[in-house]
């Protein structure tokens, strides 16, 4: 135990990602973290569930055969107990997982299970939520605590959704939106040399 104390509870990468040693990452070679990403303890990321269906037919064969299962932008924050899991479906008779893309400044609350296809920049997802397979969450969306977003649901910009199944319950006000997420500040409160949350 004491040895780990010296090493610190987080692995801090060159690009500033802070990954808790108690997080559970599978298939790290298939993950792309955008830099300054925080992964808290008990987060589980299923990078091992890669796409098996050939992508040539659907997305124009020029793209290199990428095995990226999960990709995140800058300043994402995955709270304790989050599960990120690439969605899977049957496509042309074959089952395959599809990559999950997460934008910049995305916050995901405690114990939320995410199987979305994409999550846009500055989205904020509360705790104990379930984001169904292939859901598309656009920019600046707020998912309130405990919501269950049905599979394949599309949530437009600036929506606030809640409920089981989730429905749009409001709009993010003009004064909210992109710069209100405060994830830069939150980033500094986590890691091996955390700052105090207040000022």
């Amino acid at each position: 135990m004491s040895r780990r104390q010296v090493k610190g509870d987080y692995i801090e990468t060159e690009t500033g990602n802070k990954v808790s040693r108690k997080a559970n990452l599978l298939g790290t070679q298939n993950m792309v973290l955008g830099g300054k990403v925080v992964i808290q303890p008990e987060v589980m990321i299923r990078g091992d569930l890669v796409r098996t269906a050939p992508s040539s037919s659907s997305s124009g064969g020029t793209a290199a055969p990428s095995t990226t299962a999960i990709q995140t932008g800058r300043y994402c924050f995955f709270s304790k107990g989050v599960v990120l899991r690439p969605p899977g479906r049957r496509y042309k008779g074959q089952f395959s997982h599809m990559p999950m893309r997460i934008g910049h400044h995305v916050f995901i609350g405690q114990d939320t299970v995410v199987q979305a296809a994409t999550i846009g920049d500055h989205a904020r997802i509360g705790k104990n939520c379930v984001i169904g397979e292939f859901a598309i969450i656009k920019e600046c969306v707020e998912v309130l605590d405990g919501a269950v977003v049905p599979p394949n649901m599309v949530i437009p910009n600036y929506s606030i959704v809640a409920g089981q199944p989730a429905r749009v319950v409001g709009e993010v006000p003009e004064g909210g939106g992109p710069d209100e997420n405060g994830l830069r500040g939150l980033y500094s409160t986590v890691g091996n040399n955390p700052q105090n949350p207040d000022m």
């Binding site: 808290q40 008779g93 397979e133 599309v154 409160t189 949350p197």
Partner: protein, 565 residues
């Protein structure tokens, strides 16, 4: 909006403005309401409708006033479908209604989105052997809900093609029974004019509506058939014109009708729909089938209120529900209701998150945050962050100190004066003291500008501890001061028998919101707009040079829960 303390709500001044001319200001409450000296009571029933979080407020440059969602007018910029994110032209809106005409449907059971998929009949023999990827047979298709696993084949809806579901669905009733549309009926009638009118059961709401519409349309457009009171509906009279209305009213008045009815006789009557072709549908009073279904299926077969409300036609049972086309959403711009200037306008494109104009209050008025000087709750472990520490309830009659931090969003120096009542309004009033009610906040500066400035602004009044008349801490564009509160004892017995004005005290039991310590605070800010800075302030350039601006408003600080035994 967050509801657990600490929080700061700001009152939009629109609720205090003089009502429009002509409305009554004579009531005694009305007078006192406009009294500037009056303390704002956050628990007053009206307050619920005027308090907003800072993010929800806008700012009108022209009026130099805060604007809340209640004192702006909205205008629709773009219509779009929330499911496929396609923009819908407003011309299409008139013809197709406010629902998406693509394949965007919602599940009638759970409101989740549904997908078109093949109703697969893959050979079962493959199931336990290796999976042979056979060429998938095409169709039939159905709508699948991935959330509650509803399938449209449950109600007998299957489609030949995967595209153009709306047109296929329009011709199909639940159970796959072909639906007779108005157009079909018209054509059929053309072919055999002697066809008897449809049976009542075959007429659904849509058909009935279109039949009624054509029926009344023909009456309006038809030759003037001598309607009473000289009212001819055909010759360009606008139904909404007041003259037409009064004439119609007099027509239906018992007195007026009697007087005219004598001369005109039976032709006075409006012709009514008399058969199904004209839109008449008799009520079906024999409900024995429904009763039997209820007995067989029970509660689970009936529709819930939510399901019913989202349907277009009335339904009793789950299998009468139809998949719902997605209702369109809008992007809207906002105008100041007073000066009509646009204060917020999003970009037209559906996918864009940017705004062409966005005058939000938080870039004009300081943000206020509140936190305890000596937190009692243990700090949240790093791994659990960003969980908020939960402060224990405040003990009555004990002094507590809080740090109030004001952050200046302007490029000008801000002079702030604060005022709070010594005792908060309400039955149980807390004692409040602001240790430093007047201070300046330095402007926002660029990093390099700040660096060039050096550190010559080290203020002497800054203490780092709670001291009367002095600022607690000062930063680049923020100032912290100390607020002291003494919460009251929350027992009805502790109340004095009479209020100051001599009325007997309300001795009803403790109410929910009395347990929360809320402090009304009056904020008055003053600043001099500097011309060269030009911070979204081009209007003020010539007019307001060297002129002081000020803004004053009430806000409410939610400090914490008061413990009660």
């Amino acid at each position: 909006m967050s509801s657990s303390p600490p929080y700061t709500y700001i009152q939009c001044p629109c609720s205090n403005e003089e009502p429009a001319e002509g409305s009554d200001a004579s009531s005694p409450e009305g007078d006192s309401f406009h009294d500037a000296e009056r303390t704002f009571d956050p628990r007053a029933p009206r307050s619920n409708y005027s308090l907003y979080l800072l993010e929800y407020l806008l700012y009108c440059e022209e009026c130099q006033q805060i604007r809340c969602p209640r004192c702006v007018d909205e205008e629709i910029v773009t219509y779009y479908c929330p499911n496929c994110l396609f923009e819908v032209a407003s011309s299409n809106l008139r013809s197709d209604g406010n629902r998406c005409t693509r394949n965007c449907y919602q599940c009638p059971i759970c409101s989740g989105p549904v997908q078109v998929g093949e109703v697969q009949a893959e050979p079962e023999t493959n199931l336990l052997s290796a999976d042979n990827a056979t060429a998938a047979p095409h169709g039939p298709y159905a709508l699948f809900c991935q959330y509650c696993s509803w399938v449209s084949s449950e109600i007998g809806l299957e489609f030949e093609r995967a595209s153009g579901i709306p047109s296929q669905l329009a011709k199909m009733k639940n159970g796959g029974i072909p639906k007779i549309t108005a157009k079909e009926l018209k054509e059929r009638r053309k072919e055999e004019p002697d066809m008897p009118p449809l049976e009542d059961e075959l007429v659904d709401a849509e058909l009935q509506y279109s039949a009624l519409k054509t029926f009344y349309q023909s009456q309006i457009n038809g030759p003037s058939n001598g309607l009473p009171g000289g009212l001819s509906l055909g010759d360009g009279h606008n139904f909404s014109s007041p003259a037409a209305l009064t004439r119609m009213m007099s027509m239906w008045q018992p007195g007026g009708r009697g007087a005219q009815g004598k001369t005109a006789g039976p032709p006075d009557m409006f012709p009514e729909a008399t058969d199904t072709d004209k839109g008449l549908k008799l009520a079906q009073l024999d409900e024995s089938a429904k009763v039997q279904k209820l007995l067989d299926g029970g509660w689970d077969e009936t529709v819930s209120k939510d399901q019913l409300l989202s349907q277009l036609e009335h339904a009793h049972f789950q299998d009468e529900l139809r998949p719902l086309q997605c209702v369109l959403r809008t992007k809207r711009s906002r105008r100041c209701a007073v000066c009509r200037h646009i204060i917020s306008k999003p970009e037209n494109k559906v996918g864009s998150t940017r705004f062409k104009i966005k005058l939000v209050a938080k870039s004009y008025i300081p943000s206020i945050t509140i936190r305890p000087l000596e937190p009692l709750a243990p700090p949240v472990p790093v791994g659990m962050r960003p969980q908020q520490p939960q402060e224990p309830p405040l003990k009555p009659l004990q002094p507590y100190q809080y740090i109030l931090t004001f952050k200046n969003p302007l490029f000008e120096k801000l002079k702030v004066s604060l005022a709070t009542p010594n005792n908060t309004p309400g039955r149980f009033s807390s004692k409040v003291a602001l240790l430093c009610p007047q201070f300046d906040i330095d402007p926002v500066k660029d990093m390099w500008e700040d660096a060039l400035d050096g550190d010559d602004r080290s203020r002497t009044e800054e203490t780092g501890q709670a001291e009367a008349g002095k600022i607690y801490k000062r930063g680049r564009n923020w100032v912290s001061i100390i607020l002291e509160v003494i919460p009251p004892l929350l027992t009805v017995d502790s109340l004095r028998p009479h209020t100051a004005s001599g009325e007997p005290t309300d001795r009803s039991p403790l109410r929910e919101d009395e347990k929360i310590l809320e402090i009304p605070m009056f904020v008055r800010m003053e600043w001099e707009p500097e011309a060269q800075h030009d911070v979204g302030d081009s209007v003020g350039k010539d007019r307001n040079e060297g002129q002081k601006r000020e803004l004053a408003y009430w806000c409410v600080l939610g400090v914490g829960q008061i413990s009660h035994e």
